[in-house]
Amino acid sequence: MTAQRINGVRRGEPITITVNEEEVEAYAGESIAAALLASGRRAIRQNVKGGTPRGYFCGMGMCFDCTATVDGNPNVRTCMTEVHSDCVVETSS
């Protein structure tokens, strides 16, 4: 795994989210982007133009590179959106 949760940082309750039909460990309060990175999923999306893989980039909701379909809603910025239990994320990459 490239990204790692920092040891010693207190986290919310462990929860399970679903990413492309697989179960992924996350913690309450965490962003979806953080949960994706921590599970080794760095490519979140294929760009509509050109099909190149994209992932977390600006972290502040301006670049729209980390968008995914969340609970059926398309184009959700995963860096700006918290996980919740039973959260269903579909990435295009």
């Binding site: 940082v9 207190r10 965490e30 980039f57």
Partner: protein, 487 residues
């Protein structure tokens, strides 16, 4: 279409970073009714981003803990009965005549009529394109900091930090203390340029002190510091696995034969910052070209008032100045706005004003130290996407320029640059550099994209409801007016 809810407030503040929060606290303490709006889940902005996770007694590395603590102390001031803080809420339009904001938040779309508006919308990170810059694992240095601070997550293992300016060192120290391995810091400015310009900070001991402390930590950890270098390529299949750096000349052109390849999994970029001016721009607030940072910014007078009556601006949107400037300008804007509404703010505006000018002078010195070099445009070869969203290549842009395009607003309908979801926030400044470089113009002559509402993508029902409220318009008016078809 049914009408949308409209609330009223005395002072509406857009952006809850250091400037917005200090404006809110100052105005509320004077007695004004304040509504503070921010798109993020919590106040603090990027600089004072607070840990998002449930517990607050984090064991963060030293370099982060003090920043988080300072932010927490500032944010405690928001716990005031006069302040209504609305997070997760986007302000997507502003009507300057009526001082009405259009918002979209957890409860849907609504409007907010204010007696005064303060824009403290902050800044974005400047990046420059190169082959591979869209690969997952290439992120902004600020994006890395946000993962550390907000999420308690180290976004990679072996890092390269590249660009120019003090943030590279700050982020490197934070990453290092969180357990990262730093392959190198790649700084555009040469060692001689760096030292000569650093001497201008003589007397500003806190700034120099921070720089020296960070530098010592990086030296102790034996982090290589590559002056006069630039990242020229990121390589990898689905994500970054290598970075290529090269020496550059004084104008930023890479020197042939100087390539070094580094094995890294994460590349953090920062070439300085760009003021976020979309909302003041839509309101019609006059802008000026900030030579120190090479970007357009919102023009304010000594009272922090913009050229539009009733609208103030504070902090980075008025020109890059850093958190010190933002905190002072927030207090000033909050105080003046409250005073205009008949309240008596308990701050000494003269003292604040003096400190503000001093802080702006220091920031200007720092800005001049770390210019983006025009030769970097050559790194975006003709096959490199410069507009990340629309996948428009540098070659397509150069063709349009050869055919006679001289401004960004002309490039837009020609190539679709800036028409994707980020609305030109990333590519706009890159394109200004490229157009200036290709046409031999001064960067100042290349104007930014005209900002349009909605400033970020929102659900059509939010826009539709507000527009229908404003006037009897047809569907074509909606589409044309919101930048989809009309050019």
């Amino acid at each position: 279409m049914t009408g949308i809810k409209q609330d009223t407030t005395e002072i509406a503040i857009v952006g809850a970073g250091p400037a917005g929060v200090s404006a809110a606290v100052t105005a509320a303490r004077a007695g004004a009714k304040v509504t503070l709006v921010d798109e993020s889940a919590s106040a603090g902005g990027q600089y004072y981003k607070q840990p998002a996770l449930a517990e607050r007694d984090h064991k963060y590395p030293d370099s982060l803990a003090s920043n988080i603590q300072q932010g927490r102390e500032l944010l405690a001031g928001l716990n005031h009965p006069g302040i209504d803080t609305q997070c997760n809420t986007l302000v997507w339009n502003v009507s300057a005549e009526e001082l009405v904001l259009n918002l979209c938040g957890p409860t849907g779309a609504w409007a907010l009529k204010a007696e005064r508006i303060i824009f403290s919308t902050g800044a974005y990170e400047r990046v420059m394109p190169f082959p591979g810059w869209t690969l997952p694992g290439v992120i902004t240095a600020g994006g890395a900091q946000l993962m550390l601070k907000g999420q308690g997550l180290l976004p990679g293992r072996r890092f390269l930090l590249a660009g120019t300016g003090p943030l590279l060192q700050v982020a490197a120290v934070q990453l290092l203390e969180a357990g990262a391995d730093i392959a190198a810091i790649v700084e555009l400015q040469s060692r001689i340029e760096f030292l000569r310009l650093a001497s201008r900070l003589w007397g500003h001991w806190d700034k120099l002190g921070h720089g020296i402390t960070n530098r010592k930590k990086l030296l102790q950890a034996k982090v290589p510091f590559k002056y006069g270098h630039a990242i020229v390529c990121a390589q990898g299949e689905e994500e970054v696995s290598r970075a290529v750096i090269m020496k550059i000349d004084g104008d930023g052109h890479p020197l042939p034969g100087s390539e070094t390849t580094l094995e890294v999994d994460t590349i953090c970029l920062n070439y300085g910052f760009i003021p976020a001016t979309e909302l003041p721009g839509i309101a019609g607030c006059e802008q000026y070209f900030d030579y120190n940072f090479g970007a357009y910014a919102t023009k304010i007078d000594e009272n922090l008032e913009t050229s539009v009556a009733g609208i103030f601006a504070a902090g980075e949107t008025c020109g890059i100045g850093g958190a010190d400037v933002a905190l002072l300008e927030g207090q000033l804007a909050g105080a003046v706005a409250a005073r205009q509404l008949g309240f008596d703010p308990e701050v000494d505006e003269d003292v604040l004003h003096r400190k503000q000018l001093q802080a702006r002078t220091v920031a200007a010195t720092l800005g001049k130290m770390f210019p983006v070099k025009p030769g970097l445009c050559a790194l975006a070869g003709d096959d490199v996407s410069v507009c990340r969203c629309e996948g428009v290549s540098a070659g397509e842009v150069r063709t349009a320029i050869r055919m006679g395009v001289t401004q960004l607003n002309q490039l837009k309908p020609w190539t679709r640059v800036g028409m994707g979801r980020c609305q030109g926030r990333i590519c706009g400044e890159v394109l200004r550099q490229i157009v200036a470089h290709e046409t031999g113009s001064d960067v100042q002559e290349i104007l930014p994209f005209t900002p349009r509402a909605p400033v970020k993508p929102v659900l059509l029902e939010a826009v539709g409801g507000a527009v229908a409220d404003a006037a009897e318009l047809t569907w074509e008016d909606h589409i044309g007016g919101y930048g989809v078809a009309r050019t």
